[in-house]
């Protein structure tokens, strides 16, 4: 478990009771990404500028409305981290030249989906980490190009049905290990989070907020429209993602990876798969034991050597 001594978030009741992000956004009902963003924003606060890349959340700020109390800059799909570089450098120059007061400074936050993070934006993210940019990166990962109708992306899990992998075996590729790719850059911090584990999320965002350098967060974002399930199941699916071991909650710091929540008795992966339309072909019209077992084996192999 992570060292809780350094966080103010010890129990659920320690979580912020004031919610900062406005409501009435055009995100889908049951959006797991928005759920995570709400919690993250409550901790980061309004002294922030969000640098966004093309994705679902680009539609959070549509002229003349925004749910953010702080600032926002939409860039393009590939280069939000470079936008963060420009804003951070400009703020540093203004502070250094005493053209703005210290309290005018802001946390620079990149907000992108998995499409940008795992693919087109990977080069600019790598560049930002290599330059040790002082920024927070939040990737809401709904495992496909969701905003365009859930085509497969570098984040799509094996066997998932997407609008560009509709065959009987679903997506033939495997989800890219972005956590390890990011961690290989040795940034200040990398963590996985999910909105259905709010305490774990709050601790990690709080920890990241109090660090400098690149702080990289991947939030698994259960997606009713892309994963094909009823919006009311979002929370259950998020919890199952953690309890089946599909979505390991972990953090990287000082060259070490620590798992922050190791499921005691991992539930079978099929409990997670079964409730999502994107995996229905594994169960209907015939059960595909070979593929289900392969998915279970991959999760088992991941956890084999993980101990507290």
């Amino acid at each position: 478990m992570t060292d809780t001594a350094e966080t103010i978030f010890k129990r659920l009741r320690d979580l912020p009771s004031t919610h900062l992000l406005g409501t009435g956004t055009p995100m889908c009902a049951g959006c797991g990404g928005l759920q995570a963003l709400h919690q993250i924003y409550d901790i980061i606060g309004e002294k922030s500028v969000f640098i966004n890349a093309a994705g679902c959340m680009t539609l959070l700020s549509v002229f003349p409305f925004t749910p953010f109390r702080g600032s926002w800059l939409y860039t393009a799909m590939a280069s939000a981290p470079a936008g963060a570089q420009g804003v951070r450098d400009a703020l540093d120059i203004l502070l250094q030249q005493q053209r703005i007061a210290a309290e005018e400074d802001m946390e620079v936050v990149v907000l992108t989906g998995d499409g940008a993070a795992y693919g087109m934006g990977l080069s600019s993210t790598s560049g930002a980490m290599e330059r040790d940019l002082d920024f927070l990166y939040i990737c809401y990962d709904n495992e496909g190009y969701g905003n365009t109708g859930q085509q497969y992306s570098g984040a799509t899990p094996h066997a998932a049905l997407t609008s560009t992998s509709k065959g009987p075996r679903g997506f033939s590729g495997f989800k890219k290990d972005l956590f390890s790719i990011w961690a290989a850059h040795e940034p200040a911090y990398v963590a996985t989070v999910i909105g259905t584990e709010p305490l774990d999320l709050a601790r990690k965002i709080d920890k990241a907020r109090n660090m400098t350098g690149p702080r990289m967060i991947i939030a698994l974002a259960p997606c009713p429209t892309g994963w094909d399930y009823d919006p009311k199941q979002s929370v259950d699916i998020g919890k199952l993602a953690v309890r089946t071991g599909i979505w390991p909650l972990k953090e990287y710091e000082n060259g070490k990876v620590v798992h922050t929540k190791i499921p005691k008795q991992r539930k079978p992966v099929e409990e997670y798969l079964q409730c999502q339309g994107r995996f229905r072909h594994l169960f209907e019209p015939q059960r595909n034991d070979e593929l289900i077992d392969a998915l279970q084996a991959k999760v088992d192999s991941y956890w084999r050597d993980i101990t507290e």
């Binding site: 925004t66 702080g70 939409y74 470079a82 804003v87 203004l94 053209r99 309290e103 790598s126 290599e130």
Partner: protein, 423 residues
């Protein structure tokens, strides 16, 4: 003010330094590299108080440039050719942010085939991006235009990024004597960048570059950008006049050379216009009333000035160092549309394509272009666009092709033919 021998690249770097640039997102590309090397050295040696950051691509470089300008600091950047095209998405994007900064483009032909030498096809590709464009013919102009460009970009009536273009090799690596303005006077001329309320501050949150829904708000903001670019015509003249007052050098939106009493005019941009000037002198010596117009400002396009300066002329030879495949020269098309239907417009506008990938344009060719244009005037028939290429060149390329063919045959004959492949 002191006089120095500077390359075009050196002049661009001095322009950025004298404009008291705060921030330089960079990425190296031939033939631009000397600019960012000079700036990096000055910063490292404490001669210049700025921050230079090398990004991992030109796409990111322009993103960072726009983002920093949108946060309220003065930004300079430089690129060329493939780099400009790699950044193309962001050129359109940051001009829409109304982020004012100066980008030097060192013109170089585009792949394929890949080349390092100069033409204007790269910068013409940015024609519709919302960046304003100033094209230079001398190293002095590169420096002066950089200072003028900041005033133009940051003017409240404009607030758009500006490309200052210079030709690769011909200007970038050519040393010319350049008058270096005094640092203090240059600083006074450029003034401070006031981002007004379009900047990021914790106490005054703003959302920049947000999405719009529907064509109506989209059209509104696009029209605004266009109108701002058009405002730059007037602002340019004001700024150029003030520049002349302070530094004694006049840089009109269109340079006129022996054009007043000419009946045939060359129209071309960039450093090759100096070759045209020389040809004009020779043509004048031979008794022909030929002159030259060289637009410095390409965006906004000085339509009215062209209508005025070309009115009553017999024939125009437009020489484009760019090629729009399937159409022809970009400047020729733009000039035609500026003149069409205008009373007193010359009836004959002949298009010539030359100087691609650094290919020279000789005096003889200028003579020939003048002759072709005069013949078109006399006969009242405008010929199809001419692609400048001479017999010697054709013979040379045939030789190269013969070598390639001979080598291929040699390779073919000596190698074991893979089974299944038959001639």
């Amino acid at each position: 003010m002191k006089r120095m021998l500077l390359t075009g690249n050196g002049a661009a770097a001095w322009g950025a330094r004298l404009a008291a640039t705060d921030y330089i997102p960079a990425f190296p590309i031939t033939p631009q590299t000397e600019i960012i090397e000079a700036l990096a050295n000055w910063i490292d040696n404490g001669a210049m108080n700025a921050r230079l950051v090398t990004l991992e691509s030109e796409h990111s470089m322009i993103t960072a440039a726009g983002a920093a300008a949108a946060t309220g600091v003065r930004v300079f950047s430089a690129t060329s050719s493939q780099g400009l095209l790699y950044a193309m998405e962001m050129l359109y994007t940051v001009s829409g942010w109304r982020a004012p900064f100066v980008l030097t483009n060192v013109s170089r032909g585009l792949a394929a085939p890949i080349t390092l030498e100069s033409d204007h096809t790269d910068v013409m590709a940015a024609r519709d991006s919302g960046f304003l464009q100033i094209h230079c013919a001398t190293c002095q102009e590169v420096l002066d235009s950089t200072l003028i460009a900041y005033r133009l970009a940051e003017d409240a009536r404009v607030r758009l990024p500006v490309i200052v273009n210079l030709d690769g090799f011909y200007l970038s690596f050519t040393r010319e004597p350049v008058q270096l303005p005094d640092q203090q006077i240059a600083k006074e001329f450029v003034g401070r960048y006031d981002a007004e309320n379009i900047r990021f501050r914790a106490s005054a949150p703003v959302s920049q570059a947000v999405a719009v829904l529907g064509g109506s708000p989209y059209s509104y903001f696009r029209y605004e950008t266009h109108l701002a670019a058009q405002n730059a015509l007037l602002v340019y003249d004001e700024v150029a006049a003030e520049f002349n007052q302070r530094f004694g050098r006049q840089h009109n939106a269109i340079e006129e050379y022996r054009s007043d009493d000419a009946d045939i005019l060359f129209v071309m941009m960039g450093s090759f216009a100096t070759k045209a000037k020389e040809a004009v002198d020779l043509l004048r010596d031979s008794g022909q009333a030929v002159g030259l117009l060289r637009p410095r400002l390409i965006r906004p396009f000085p339509t009215q000035s062209f209508q005025h300066l070309l009115g009553g002329k017999k024939g125009i030879a437009v020489i484009d160092q760019n090629l729009s495949m399937g159409m022809g020269g970009v400047l020729h098309a733009e000039l035609s549309s500026a003149l069409y239907g205008h009373a007193n417009a010359p009836a004959t506008l002949v298009s010539f394509i030359g100087g691609l990938g650094g290919r020279d344009i000789s005096s003889e060719e200028f003579f020939e272009m003048a002759a072709v244009t005069r013949r078109a005037v006399d006969e009242g028939v405008t010929p199809a666009p001419r692609l400048l290429y001479n017999e010697t060149e054709l013979r040379e390329i045939r030789k190269l092709q013969a070598v390639a063919q001979s080598e291929r045959e040699e390779l073919h004959n000596s190698a074991d033919k893979p089974s299944g492949e038959q001639q």
